[in-house]
């Protein structure tokens, strides 16, 4: 049975992407493209919500899972896509051509990420990942100025290498287990004895290569070299999109693969748990320290996102070290991803609004923004505070939640490194705050912002506050979503 109705969110999104491209050919008022894209996202989200809470199922010969875990991520990606589209309106309206393609590509890469969250089979994982990535390669180079082109080329080349590494890893895993479906791989591995696995080191090698391939997506050190350049060169809404959606998708797929295929026996999960713990420690330390001297705010947030990936990997390490029934690691990770997405989107939206006026991303040019655009500056301040992990913003609850899981499973050393890192990070985040509120404005001219931007900004800031003060409901959702479907 095909069960196509369980595939409606993806189908809707694909259909709307095509409609947007076609519509672009015939209408003159490009504003409608935004409306149509948003309608597509909302309809797809509606279908997704309707499926929430149903029993977990697999479709297409066990290639796609439809469980709360996938639905949680689908909703997250759709929300991100909607906010990115809203934040892009001003930016894109300055393009003379290809406006339809822009929105269509945003929708298509959202589609790829939705598939990434749902796939439970190696080959479809690869296909979903490429669908998401290739759309993003194009979007990064959309400005076609030297910086944007360089960024796109760099992203494409390194992305291709990462894909190759990932494929190699998958091939090894397939070679040693003879299966591509994650649940079946798990059963083969569990049937092996410890000596059986040790006799076939290729399996472990395959696992490590997959960590490397996915590590590129989540910007984990040492696979992070592309981040600062690409973040700086890409159109700012796309930087925002990359920094949250692409990262969330990477974590979704890592969770799915490592939890369902390599989750048992426990000595195996301990192995990759420790790999992620070490990557986390290095990632947050390097990311935070290198972020300090940055002068370009997009580059700074690039390094900050490397550090944030480190905090997120604390969650992955917890998943590796905790028994499979314990959901705290996974739900902590999901909650952190949701709060990080809102926070970073808010920050980038404010940056888009400011750079539309200033035509600069240098931190020093933000001087006196508190007087030129008090609400924008306030919103950006809130988001930066959330990135530090201070209350009352979402980042605080997210860190508390994810670290509490880690402490429970004997990762106190990692948590201490992480909290010390939070202190280091306060220095460079607060530097931006300082420049905005204490600096003298270069001119008295107000910074205008369009309705769409303001909507996107207020939605994300509202979310940041909500998750920071009354996180109970979203944590409940994350807990439900964390009960992943293994088959």
């Amino acid at each position: 049975m095909l069960n196509l109705e369980l595939f409606t969110p993806e189908l809707t999104l694909a259909a709307f992407a095509i409609v947007v491209i076609l519509l672009d050919l015939i209408i003159q008022r490009k504003g409608w493209l935004v409306v149509v894209s948003l309608v597509g996202v909302v309809v797809a989200a509606g279908f997704t919500i309707a499926m929430w809470g149903g029993s977990s199922q697999a479709i297409f010969n066990n290639m796609l899972a439809v469980d709360n875990f996938a639905l949680f991520f689908k909703l997250l990606f759709l929300a991100i896509a909607a906010l990115v589209i809203l934040a892009s309106v001003d930016y894109v309206s300055r393009f003379s051509r290809f406006q339809g393609e822009y929105y269509a590509l945003v929708l298509l890469s959202a589609l790829g990420m939705m598939l990434m969250a749902a796939t439970a089979e190696l080959i479809s994982i690869y296909v979903a990942l490429e669908l998401a990535s290739i759309s993003l390669y194009v979007l990064v180079g959309f400005l076609k100025d030297p910086k944007s082109t360089e960024a796109a080329l760099k992203y494409l080349l390194l992305g291709a290498v990462a894909s190759a590494v990932l494929l190699f890893g998958m091939a090894l895993v397939f070679g040693f287990t003879g299966r591509t479906q994650l649940g079946e791989i798990a059963r083969v591995i569990q049937a092996l004895s410890l000596s059986g696995v040790l006799a076939s080191p290729g399996l472990i090698l395959g696992m490590v290569l997959m960590v490397a391939g996915f590590g590129f997506k989540i910007a984990a050190i040492p696979f992070h070299m592309w981040v600062p350049d690409v973040y700086e060169g890409a159109p700012t809404p796309i930087t925002a999109y990359l920094s949250v959606a692409s990262k969330a998708a990477g974590f979704a797929i890592i969770l799915r693969v490592f939890y369902s295929a390599f989750g048992l026996p426990s000595w195996l999960s301990l192995d990759w748990g420790l790999i992620f713990a070490v990557l986390a420690a290095i990632g947050m330390t390097v990311g935070n320290i290198v972020a300090i001297p940055q002068t370009n705010i997009k580059r700074m947030l690039g390094y900050s996102s490397i550090a944030q990936a480190g905090y997120l990997m604390v969650g992955l390490a917890t998943v590796g070290l905790s028994p499979a029934v314990d959901i705290l690691g996974r739900s902590g990770l999901l909650f952190f991803l949701a709060s990080y997405a809102l926070t970073n989107l808010g920050a980038f939206t404010a940056i888009i609004a400011i750079s539309n006026k200033l035509d600069s991303d240098l931190i020093q040019d933000y001087s006196g923004m508190g007087r030129r655009a008090p609400l924008l500056a306030l919103a950006l301040t809130l988001c930066l505070i959330s990135l530090i992990g201070m209350p009352p913003a979402a980042g605080f609850m997210a860190k508390f939640y994810i670290f509490s899981g880690a402490v429970q499973h004997g990762l106190l050393w990692l948590v201490v490194i992480a909290v010390v890192n939070s202190v280091i990070s306060a220095y460079y985040y607060l530097r931006v705050v300082k420049v905005m509120w204490l600096g003298e404005p270069a001119s008295e001219e107000k910074v205008p912002s369009s309705g769409a931007l303001r909507l996107a900004l207020s939605l994300s800031c509202l979310g940041v506050l909500l998750l920071g003060i009354i996180p109970g409901y979203i944590m409940k959702l994350a807990e439900l979503a964390a009960k992943m479907f293994v088959f």
Partner: protein
């Protein structure tokens, strides 16, 4: 359910802050009135709560005005507020200072909207710390305080204000990072975030995630930065000196007390045995605080810096009283927190008036001001005498209790020696206070200060309020000690006498 006193007290200021920040087109006058209104009602309410607080011995250890709502079920966190004899005096202190600093700030004209919004948010966060009985809620309020402080010092401060502000933030965040690790370990050792439950369960509930001693010290570092305890004190002189007057008042008056409060509420109550074991170390640090702080104070030439260093010395008494671990000494330490809050608050307010009216803060250049500002001179002298512990002022009552309590404490051996060393601090205090008063007010009148004004009506209102509180507690300390005792007695039970 009865009227939620504490929620109202805590959140009225932040409501005021939101109104001030977001109502467009408010005049400066209206902003100040709003701030005064939204800090006056918490003060009135907390005094009312103080009046109806059950002081009978039967109520010892009972949490009053309790509010408990489920907040984040996923991690077993509650919105749990309540006060006992330990925290109620500090709530009164903060709400009193909260109202008075609005009056002290009446002459602020630089960006008043933001200023008062941050000031009110600050009040909410400190009140929240004293009322929270849930560790997560406690930590949340504890952290929120950093942001308003950062802005208040770095925008409205003087001198190297940006440096001082970021130094303050980094120290505080470092302390709270340690504290967060401690809270997380405590949470997983006991499965609960409720201070009451953890304290009642005692160490029996603790399964070892890590040595209990380590958790104790993780928490202690967070509080020691705040109190501050030597050698973690270096942020304090900078922050106090460069902050605007009103913020110095809150900082010295109420913020430092978060550290002392946390030590009693968490370190001593939850880890009585560890506290006993390490009391000699901490009492030694307390004596170092007293003597070193006082000695450094002697050398200061800047009016505000002098008062700032004197705080370090006075907080040493608090630390001494806490870790002498006797009932009288703990009562004394709590009373000293209240008393120091009011006295140093007044000292900073007076220093602010002198600086504002005479436009000079260097002790070497001040002098003879008693002729121009007789009222300020008298009140400043009263504050100074209270700081050095003259009888009939609250300073005397508090320090006397600390010394008597520590000297007679049976928990720490050799405490008598430490106490005597601590008493020496009083002598040095008398030295620098009298020297400061002499430099500022006496001596030949200086020409450049002709025409300098005395305190105006509004200023007289708040400085006399301060003096009234100091005298009231000094003459009849039982008004507070009766309450404090109900909070301290259960802790003595835990310490096993």
């Amino acid at each position: 359910m009865s009227f939620p006193y504490l929620t109202t007290i805590i959140f009225l200021p932040v409501v005021g802050a939101i109104l001030i920040a977001f109502i467009p087109g408010l005049s400066e006058r209206k902003i100040k009135n709003l701030a005064a209104i939204f800090t006056f009602f918490p003060l009135a309410l907390s005094i009312y709560a103080f009046a109806i607080f059950d002081r009978s011995l039967g109520a010892a250890g009972v949490i009053q005005f309790e509010e408990k709502l489920s907040w984040i079920p996923a991690i077993n966190a509650y919105y749990h507020l309540g006060v006992d004899g330990l925290s109620l005096p500090l709530v009164i202190l903060m709400s009193l200072l909260g109202f008075l600093v609005v009056l002290i700030s009446w002459k602020i004209d630089l960006r008043p909207r933001e200023y008062f919004a941050w000031l009110l948010l600050l009040e909410t966060s400190i009140l929240g710390v004293f009322c929270s009985l849930d560790l997560l809620l406690f930590f949340l309020f504890w952290e929120i305080e950093v942001i308003p402080m950062y802005f208040l010092i770095s925008i409205w401060g003087t001198g190297r204000k940006e440096y001082s502000a970021i130094k303050y933030v980094v120290y505080t965040l470092f302390g709270s990072a340690m504290m967060l690790a401690g809270i997380l370990s405590l949470y997983f050792a006991t499965g609960s975030l409720s201070m009451v439950e953890i304290a009642q369960g005692g160490l029996a509930m603790v399964q070892s995630v890590m040595p209990v001693v380590a958790i104790f010290f993780l928490l202690l570092i967070g509080f020691a930065v705040k109190l501050p305890v030597f050698p973690l004190h270096t942020w304090l002189p900078d922050a106090h000196t460069d902050a605007p007057t009103a913020v110095s008042v809150v900082l010295a008056g109420a913020l430092l007390k978060m550290g002392g409060y946390g030590m009693i509420r968490l370190c001593v109550t939850i880890f009585p045995q560890v506290a006993k074991t390490y009391a000699p170390l901490l009492v030694t640090l307390a004596v170092v605080n007293v003597l070193y702080g006082a000695a450094v104070t002697l050398r200061q030439t800047d009016l505000k810096r002098l008062i700032a260093y004197s705080s370090i010395s006075h907080m040493g008494y608090v630390l001494l009283g806490i870790f002498a671990l006797g009932q009288v000494s703990l009562v004394g330490a709590t009373l000293q927190m209240f008393s120091h809050g009011v006295i140093t608050g007044l000292l900073f307010a007076m220093a602010g008036l002198v600086m504002h009216n005479a436009e000079e803060r260097d002790l070497r250049k001040l002098g003879g001001l008693v002729r121009q500002m007789p009222i300020i001179a008298v009140i400043f002298s009263v504050a100074g005498l209270a700081a050095l512990g003259l009888p009939t002022t609250s300073g005397f009552a508090a320090e006397f209790l600390v010394f008597v309590g520590s000297y007679s404490s049976t928990v720490v051996s050799g405490i008598q020696l430490y106490t005597i060393l601590g008493v020496l601090g009083i002598v040095i205090t008398a030295g620098y206070i009298l020297w400061m008063l002499q430099r500022v007010f006496y001596g030949p009148p200086l020409e450049q200060f002709n025409g300098v004004k005395d305190a105006d009506i509004l200023e007289r209102v708040y400085i006399f309020t301060f003096v009234a509180v100091i005298m009231l507690v000094g003459i009849y300390p039982a008004i507070l000690t009766d309450v404090i005792k109900t909070g301290i007695m259960p802790i003595m039970g835990l310490l096993g006498g």
